[in-house]
């Protein structure tokens, strides 16, 4: 797949890393990576358009029960997992994630 051949920037790798670690929506990802909103949200769009992430909307009812609007949740795709594995080789500062190479998210 083409997308996984293009090396990820450190910021993109950190975001994939955060998603893979279970941070699933914008606010959470920002807190986990320390990146600003101006970086995280556009990057999420780019990563989704490259097929490394996919997003879905939270169940309305579940959100409503907690008294808040539904969120857009992001998850890693299989190509995303491959790209992140390669990126972790390059960026030693990001801790490895157990079970990542198999593509589970």
């Amino acid at each position: 797949m083409l997308a996984s051949n293009i090396a990820l920037s450190y910021g993109a790798a950190a975001i994939l890393h955060a998603v893979a670690s279970g941070h699933r929506f914008g606010f959470d990802i920002m807190e986990a990576t320390g990146l600003t909103s101006g970086t995280v949200y556009p990057a999420l769009e780019r990563l989704e358009s490259r097929g490394l992430l996919k997003s879905r909307w939270e169940d309305e009812a579940a959100a409503h029960a907690e008294g808040r609007p539904a969120r857009r949740y992001f998850t890693l795709t299989a190509p995303g997992a491959t790209a992140l594995t390669a990126a972790l080789e390059r960026y030693k500062a990001l801790r490895p994630i157990p079970g990542l190479a198999t593509g589970t998210s």
Binding site: F27, T36, S37, G38, E45, R68
Partner: protein, 879 residues
């Protein structure tokens, strides 16, 4: 929360409609979550933090918009734009030409500026990591460094500094086969090439041990240029022995092409180890004198460290050196500045900064002009655009189409502008005056300038294209489709008028600036520099390579002055170490004056010049009291000096300076005369101290012969050369130039500014006139039916003319008023660079306003007259 949601609503407009709802929902959820979180944290500045987070909507929206522009759609837009581009060659040609002028002029000036600012040294690696290191005292911050201080500084390995290098520029006589030639080079420490990141292409650089033992290593590396000029690019030049200043040296390497040493804007050709100083320079060895500061020093900032780290590291070592050698280093500190603040950069940057700002105005005028053209074209395409909108194209789609069109125009303008700028970047050398040093600027554009041109053309496309595109795509489809004639006074007409008024205003600013500098330039020529010499010759003489010692040298200078003075056509002659107004800082020293108590911390600083007998007569500098130097001031006689009026006034207030005593390092001198004040370094400098010492008592082997001629200097020059040859056939005259040549150095900067600004002003004026002509003509054509009716009903031609010109007068008047206000502000900004003219010079303001008004009147009258001359029948039938 309200502010954040407001921002969201604004950004949402940017998002493609298909994604908009999702975008808004996503952000609502995120912001709600964050607001809740902030509340739970009891964050006091919650609203601010929320708003800060909400700013992410802008890049997010922009990203969605970009992703939405699929390559396929962009391809369609480009294809359509290209068709338009080639179908209307006249329109395309004019728009591209205008943009090319604007972008080309900007890129040219940028290439000059960035070369001085970012890359003053050609072929040197990572120049942004280099610092120029100078010594400081309590009152000065640009002192050179002595060799022992440099050696200790380097050995101390200052924290934050990777390495240090020292050099000194040196003029030398090179003798390879027959005739000696003058070359300029540098004495350098052996790490010179590694420090600069330069590898010789032939042979080798210097070895570390070639910097340890004075006089042991007569080796030299030469520039690629010298290798080609004098050695026919022969690889066998390596290993050859040539003489520099009479000493044999072996050539061991050739530097890469383009490399010309470590001094900005100078082309240096020979590099020899520092330890060879006693062999090629006069006087005793300077390598052991801690008090003799003569070296320039560069530091390279260590990897991963900052300039501030390096400065701190150097300051620590400076303190250690002060404590270790209090005799020479008391109160002596270190200043480390980026290269552009040292040397030529500090002189050129203020002028280049002004040029950058002014050339930016040229681009603005060009953009306003092209915007006007695009508005006209959009008017002609109203139907096409209305149809597009009617069949369902979104407004954004139409705007994008129109923007791609203007982008194509500006891309073509960029290409043409870059070609022009690549050629024009070398023009800077045309302005360089004849100086004793080989000054030259590199021509051609580098990657940074190319990038600048591209960014500029993208900005120009948006600047020129956005407003016309938004205007043209206004969704009043029905009205446009029905409309057949426009009145010309509608909003679109007004917008064009505003654009033209802006062009008038901006070109007035340019013209005023051009006029200020042109007047400053002529004033500088009329200004009294403090000496009357105008017809005369200057020529450098160096006795050291000719083998003279101090005693014989002093006698020779005496005889030289006598011989040359006797040449027919010569009024008088003398020698001096430096010539005033050469922009160089010359030499100076700290002195103490008997009977003058300096206030605490004040150093009495005395710039000085060694001069020969008859100097003041030759230069035409009046001696206002006491006497001039003459035969009495022999080497063995009592030591004497002459001061200028400023010095006499400052330190002998109420007393007679003549008879006073000045003390400095090597002894004391008695004042025998006071000379009239003059300008010594720059024409617009404040009055300053000047001390004159007789060369007979303060010997220098390198002097400049000054000759005052009765008529044309060129006619006398051969006889002067003959007289020198008769005295000593082995004594060549170097850097022979007329006083007129020399004085052009002092007006060099004004000349660059005046010439370039005149060019920009003319360009701006032309564009504004064309814009005005277009608007008046277009409006008149739009109103041809009305005009026809008026004439048919009995209006006279004069009345019709008045009708058309009234609108135009409003545009020009508005432009002039705004322009004068802007020009007044600009005048204040450039005032420091002017000589003899104030920034609010009335002649410049009134003159250019009248000129602009006259050109504007001409540009309006022609189309207005044509419209008024139309027969009513023709006018009514038109359309």
């Amino acid at each position: 929360m309200r502010a954040a949601l407001g921002l969201l609503a604004v950004a949402a407009a940017l998002v493609p409609s298909s994604r908009r709802k999702e975008f808004v929902n996503q952000w609502r959820a995120e912001l709600a979550h964050y607001a809740l979180w902030l509340e739970r944290q009891h964050e006091p500045r919650a609203p601010l933090r929320l708003l800060a987070r909400a700013t992410g909507v802008v890049p997010h929206a922009a990203q969605l918009r970009l992703l939405h522009w699929s390559p396929r759609m962009l391809g369609q837009d480009l294809k359509f734009a290209w068709r338009l581009f080639v179908r209307r060659p006249a329109f395309t040609g004019v728009a591209v030409l205008i943009l090319a002028l604007g972008i080309g002029a900007n890129t040219t000036i940028f290439s000059w500026t960035q070369r001085v600012l970012f890359a003053p040294l050609q072929g040197v690696q990572r120049q942004d990591r280099l610092l120029a290191v100078n010594g400081t005292t309590r009152t000065r911050d640009n002192l050179s460094t002595s060799y022992p201080n440099f050696v200790d500084l380097k050995a101390a390995r200052p924290d934050g500094v990777a390495d240090l290098m020292a050099f000194r520029i040196l003029a030398m006589n090179m003798k390879a086969d027959d005739e000696p030639v003058r070359v300029f080079g540098q004495l350098v420490t052996p790490n010179f090439f590694e420090f600069l990141g330069v590898t010789p292409v032939l042979g080798r650089g210097f070895r570390a041990e070639e910097g340890t033992t004075p006089g042991r290593d007569p080796v030299a590396v030469i520039s690629d240029d010298l290798w080609r000029r004098h050695f026919g690019a022969d690889p066998a030049a390596i290993g050859r022995t040539v003489s520099f200043n009479g000493q044999p040296f072996t050539i061991v390497g050739v530097a890469p092409p383009g490399f010309h040493g470590s001094s900005a804007a100078l082309r240096l050709d020979v590099f020899v180890p520092m330890t060879m100083q006693p062999a090629v320079m006069t006087g005793s060895s300077r390598l052991t004198q801690r008090g003799n500061s003569w070296l320039e020093v560069y530091a390279r900032i260590a990897e991963g460290r900052t300039a501030a780290d390096a400065r701190a590291g150097l300051a620590v070592v400076a303190k250690q050196l002060e404590l270790a050698y209090p005799d020479n280093n008391k109160d002596r500190g270190i200043r480390a500045a980026p290269l552009w603040r040292a040397g030529a950069g500090s002189l050129l940057l203020p002028v280049f900064g002004i040029l950058m700002a002014m050339v930016g105005l040229v681009l603005l005028i060009a953009c306003a002009n092209v915007a006007g053209l695009l508005l006209v074209r959009a008017a002609g395409r109203q139907r096409e655009i209305a149809v597009r909108l009617a069949v369902g194209a979104s407004r954004g789609r139409v705007v994008r189409q129109l923007l791609v069109e203007s982008l194509l125009l500006s891309a073509a303008g960029c290409a043409a502008g870059v070609v022009a700028a690549n050629w024009a970047s070398g023009l800077l050398n045309l302005f360089v005056p004849r100086t004793p040093f080989p000054v030259a600027f590199d021509a051609g554009l580098d990657a940074r300038s190319l990038l600048f041109a591209m960014v500029l053309s993208a900005a120009a496309a948006v600047l020129a294209g956005l407003v016309p595109a938004l205007r043209a795509s206004r969704p009043d489809v029905g009205a446009t489709l029905k409309e057949t004639a426009s009145t010309g006074t509608g909003p679109r007409g007004r917008l064009r008028q505003t654009l033209v008024a802006a062009q008038v205003a901006l070109s007035l600013v340019l013209l005023v600036a051009a006029s200020l500098f042109a007047r400053s330039f002529t004033r500088a020529g009329d200004m009294d520099p403090g000496f009357t010499l105008r017809d005369g010759i200057l020529a450098a003489v160096d006795l050291l390579p000719a083998g003279y010692d101090e005693a014989r040298g002093a006698v020779l200078f005496d005889r030289l002055v006598d011989r040359v003075s006797a040449v027919p056509g010569v009024v008088s002659a003398s020698v001096a170490r430096t010539v005033p107004l050469d922009l160089s800082s010359g030499s100076d020293m700290t002195v103490s004056i008997d009977g003058y108590t300096s206030r605490d911390g004040e150093d009495v600083n005395a710039p000085y010049n060694q001069v020969g007998r008859g100097y003041f007569e030759t230069m035409g500098v009046a001696i206002v009291s006491g006497r001039s130097f003459d035969q009495r001031d022999r080497p063995e006689a009592a030591r004497v000096a002459i001061v200028n009026e400023t010095m006499a006034r400052r330190y002998w207030a109420g007393r007679d300076a003549v008879g006073g005593t000045i003390r400095f390092g090597s002894g004391a001198v008695t004042i025998i005369g006071v000379a009239k004040d003059g300008k010594y370094q720059r024409l617009n400098e404040a009055p300053r101290n000047q001390l004159y010492l007789p060369v007979a008592q303060s010997y220098r082997p390198d002097m400049v012969l000054h000759v005052r001629t009765a008529g044309s200097p060129a006619a006398v020059l051969p006889s002067v050369r003959e007289a020198v040859r008769a005295l000593d056939p082995n004594l060549p005259l170097f850097d022979v130039r007329t006083i007129e040549d020399h004085l052009s150095i002092s007006t060099f900067l004004s000349r660059i500014a005046a010439s370039m600004l005149a060019l920009f002003g003319a360009l701006g004026l032309l564009l504004a006139a064309v814009g005005l002509y277009g608007v008046v003509g277009f409006n008149a054509a739009q109103r041809s039916r009305e005009i026809g009716l008026r004439v048919a009903l009995g209006a006279e031609r004069r009345q019709v003319l008045t009708l058309i010109l009234r609108d135009a007068a409003l545009v020009v008047g508005g432009g002039l008023a705004a322009g004068l206000a802007l020009a007044f502000a600009a005048g204040r900004l450039v005032a420091s660079q002017l000589t003899g003219v104030s920034g609010a010079d009335p002649v410049s303001f009134v003159g250019t306003a009248v000129l602009l008004a006259a050109v504007a009147a001409a540009a309006c009258l022609v189309p207005a007259w044509r419209a008024a001359s139309l027969s009513p029948l023709a006018a009514l039938r038109r359309d």
